[in-house]
């Protein structure tokens, strides 16, 4: 049970709030509390239920019952009991705090916050309420608020691993990097405590998912090699390394984990991604195959191998995998998306549109199907139809950055791009606001700036693109053009060399896909 709840429950359990007229009920209540202290919670619950039956208008009995129910994880019943206690004694701050704790547990964050704000309005220095409010805000996504509140109760936070994780999560998500190091220092001191190792593992994952590579690496190094949290943390760290373009380091880490006996389909999939990036499609396919074998019921693991087979031009093998995916997940939209991709690759455009539309009917919650349909229009030369599809997608999925980027790219690729630049830029700015790490959005913004001879802006945007994804030749090429125009020839040559190597590798995969038989 979350540590904060135990803290507040303990406070309630010591309350004695009965009147002389409720003595028989009080006896039950007192007995219940004693039993609770002995750890006999079901028996304690029974006594408190009786106390409530006999003295239904005694708020404290309700609250104590709520505490005991909460200690047993019976959150809904606990909430009911606490709410009745508040009905009977609405100004009781302890009851409010308890209720908030249970509401937080149940994910009823706005209700929890209301109760805590009530407490803090009357008792602003209530550290328990402040702490709990911080946890509530963390759960509801107000990371800035959460970080501020939790940080103000730092001494309380550092006493419990869960609270520490909550603070770290809030700090990372709200970008308050200056607070990270003191948290890491605390974790370092407590890493020999088994309870804290789990927290370190979770914080590693949080840092990795938040893109803080240095912190993630620092924390990962604290986790003992045989600890159960290491695999998940390691895979997240490897994922971040991969996304940063440090593919060989990512691969090395994954292989180390593998050598230490970590058996994980996610690990295999990410390893496959690494091999793909290094243009070793055979090894990539083996890794993807292992992921599927480890967890054959997870249709997720089919996506990357299908995509790789299509890149290699092995459409027949791709459709075999897609059919397997259909068999295990007949009502899942994703196999239909992949079939659409196969149809597109084999130039069966009508089938592709049908497949994507079928995917959209099964799962209309994301833009994948619309992106697929637009891709068919684009590949078959129907640019206007593609743009119309993207625009319709933006209306329907206004938070999906991919649509903005794709639409902007189409506008900029059109013969009339000169007069469409403002529209394209507008779309790209929206994309970046939604997805600040979007390599393609920054790339297109960089190209726009280059066309307008805004070289400094072009350098900034293209550098951001490369930072987000260092494996795309075109970003390095564009950067080389910028540097050449700036007269920075060494930088230009360096970027061009990177572009040339990446381009060669990209084209070797394409050439393999083009021909079905060997050259003469």
């Amino acid at each position: 049970m979350p540590s904060v709840i135990a803290l507040v429950f303990a406070a309630v359990l010591v309350m004695q709030n009965a009147t002389a007229q409720n003595l028989p009920a009080q006896d039950h209540a007192s007995l219940g509390i004693s039993l609770a202290r002995e750890g006999k919670l079901p028996e304690a619950e029974q006594e408190l239920q009786e106390a409530v039956r006999v003295g239904p208008r005694v708020a404290s009995f309700r609250a104590q019952l709520g505490s005991i129910l909460g200690l047993q994880g019976k959150w809904k019943e606990a909430l009911g009991s606490f709410q009745k206690a508040i009905d009977l004694a609405p100004e009781n701050l302890d009851f409010r705090r308890e209720t908030a704790a249970v509401q937080w547990q149940l994910g009823l964050t706005s209700s929890a916050e209301k109760n805590l704000q009530y407490v803090l309005a009357r008792h602003p220095g209530d550290s328990g309420a402040i702490l709990l409010l911080g946890l509530v805000k963390e759960k509801s996504g107000d990371y800035t608020g959460a970080a501020q509140l939790l940080d103000s109760q730092f001494e309380l936070v550092i006493s419990q691993p869960d609270r520490m994780v909550a603070l770290f999560h809030s700090v990372v998500r709200s970008g308050q990097h200056d607070k990270v190091s003191k948290i890491v220092d605390v974790l370092k001191l407590r890493v020999n405590d088994k309870l804290w190792v789990n927290a370190v593992g979770r914080c590693t994952q949080i840092a990795a998912m938040g893109g803080d590579l240095d912190t993630a690496q620092e924390l990962f190094a604290l986790i003992p090699e045989d600890d159960s949290v290491r695999p998940a943390a390691g895979v997240q760290l490897a994922r971040l390394l991969y996304r940063r373009g440090q593919v060989s380091q990512a691969k090395e880490l994954l292989l180390q984990l593998k050598e230490h006996g970590v058996v994980s389909a996610d690990l295999q999939t990410l390893l496959g991604n690494c091999f793909e990036s290094e243009h070793q499609p055979g090894l990539a396919m083996q890794a993807y195959q292992r992921a599927i074998e480890m967890d054959p019921s997870r249709v997720d693991y089919y996506e990357d191998p299908v995509s790789l087979l299509l890149d290699l031009g092995k459409t027949n093998d791709a459709i075999v995998l897609v059919n397997h995916a259909f068999a295990i997940a007949p009502n899942d939209a994703r196999p239909w998306l992949w079939k659409g991709n196969v149809d597109l690759r084999t130039h069966s455009y009508k089938d592709a549109i049908e497949s994507y539309e079928h995917a959209g009917n099964l799962d209309g919650s994301n833009a994948d199907a619309m992106l697929g349909v637009a891709a068919v229009y684009f590949v078959s030369g129907q640019s206007e139809a593609a743009i119309a599809e993207y625009k319709a997608g933006i209306v329907r999925f206004p938070k999906d950055a991919r649509l903005y980027v794709a639409c902007a790219a189409m506008l900029l690729a059109s013969p009339d791009s000169g007069r469409l630049q403002a529209d394209a830029e507008n779309l790209l700015q929206k994309a970046v606001a939604l997805a600040p790490q979007s390599a393609e959005a920054h790339y297109q913004l960089g190209q726009l700036a280059l066309q307008q001879s805004r070289l400094k802006d072009a350098e900034t945007e293209l550098s951001l693109s490369v930072q987000s994804d260092a494996g795309r030749s075109k970003a390095h090429f564009a950067l080389s053009v910028v540097y050449r125009r700036m007269g920075r020839l060494d930088d230009a040559n360096r970027q061009f060399a990177i572009y040339r190597d990446l381009k060669r590798a990209e084209e070797s995969g394409t050439t393999a896909a083009m021909t079905l038989a060997g050259k003469p």
Binding site: P415, D416, T511, P520
Partner: protein, 581 residues
Amino acid sequence: MNPLRISRIGADSPVQTIATWSRRRFLYTLSAAGIGQFFHPRLIRADARPKPIFSDVTAEAGLTWRHFNGFSPDRYLIETMGGGVGLFDFDGDGWLDIVLLNGGETPHGKSERPLQNALYRNLGNGKFVDVAAEVGLNRVKNYGMGVAIADFDNDGHEDIFVTGFPNCTLYHNNGNGTLTDVTTDAGLQNAGRWATGAAWFDYDRDGFLDLVICNYAEFSFEGVAPKCEYLKVRTYCEQRAYNGLPLTLYHNNRDGTFTDVSRSSGLDRFVGRALGVVAIDIDNDGWTDLFVARDASANLLLLNKHDGTFVDAGLEAEVAFDSNGNAKAGMGADAGDINGDGRPDIAVTNFNFEFHSLFLNRGSFPFEDWTRASHLAGLTRSDVGWGAHFLDFDNDGLLDLMIVNGHVIEVIESLQSQVKYRERPLLLRNLGNAVFEDVSSKAGPAFSQDYLARGLAIGDWDNDGAPDAIFTCIGERPVLLRNNAGQQNSWVGLHLVGVKSNRDAIGAKLTLRVADRKLVRWVTGGSSYLSSHDKRVLFGLGKLPANHPVDLEILWPNGGMQVATNLEINRYHRIVEQVTK
């Protein structure tokens, strides 16, 4: 003897001119004198009818030859790439003749009849006759690709270099109506390579033309061809299935032989799939440079370093790749001053959805990618372009652009709804400041038909001062076009004869001043796709009155400057290089 030739004027003067009247002008004059009725009524009636910009006169001219490409189930890529054509005065009679190169047989693509090249002699009356067999050109010795025509030995007769696979051939024009294969003696075989475009140019300014050859890809008819298919139909593979080759550069030793200087010049470093080449002084330093269009390989802008070597400035000029770092499928190329700033700009034909490119030369690097601003992007979006050449079809003083197109994938219309297999040629009129409009709908029936077109040559084959054209088609007859529009405006034509410079004056820069205008043109080597053009330079002068003379400044390839003043318009002038003793 040309019955229309008028006697020389001022044989001792530095500027020797021979006025050559066009057939049409002669007929107009006679008709005005009331004696036109003695001529064939069809000729007179034809002049009275309103005409499209270009007339397709292929049948009327007697061009019956057909290209053979050895089409086979193996789909060797070479089958879809050939079709060179040249316009040149073979016999020195003042009329442009036509050479047409055949392709060849492939292991499973055989011809029912013996394959022949064609050399159509211009009879001066709108008709041509094939004399290839008589002159010694008819035999197809290799799989033929393109032609580059020039007077390599400065003897006054145009010679013919034929590119192909696996060898090239050099025909010396003996001046007596015959050609001699001098390939072996000259050392120009370019053996074992698939050669495509070629250009004569004098890179070392020694007065003799050297030769650059574009080589395309490693290729063989032996073994199994790369196998590609779309929608289960076997098609030609994309070019990336074939490895590129280096360029070849031959230095003219001035004694009928050549030396392969590919290595010493540095040109052998440029490995890629080269197709089109144009030789022109890009940076105005008086030395001829090269622009090479390459197919899914970076285009090259080879600047002449004056010491027998070249440096590639394609990256600095930003003409090598598109903005994403992709090498477009560059096929044909031409260079000319399309915006009137006196600097040569560059056009390149590419694949569908790539847009044919237009680069404006701003006098420094980078060049400006003018593809969209010129409207070329929108006008060529769905086309696969090959031959391309600037020409001032209406003689208004602005260079227009003609492009011929045709796809390579037979099933393309099932894959891309907006792309066709057989495509239409384009005539793009320059509206000024290098913005073009499509006037193909007014250009004549040839521009509303679909072809698998490849080579395109431009030249005034009827000597009326309006540039005409001929283009080739895979596996079909060529299309000969006669320009009906250029006579509506004034013009002046220059035929330069080098003395210290190479006789063809390839590399010369001509600057014409008239009223408040300055027009700049060059005598280029190569250009378009696999084709060779009329080396005379035509300046369109718009509505300039006939009695308004013009002044001309010539920068000869060897660096000499010469001025010709008060040149009469609406005629050709033969200008011989003045050499100070």
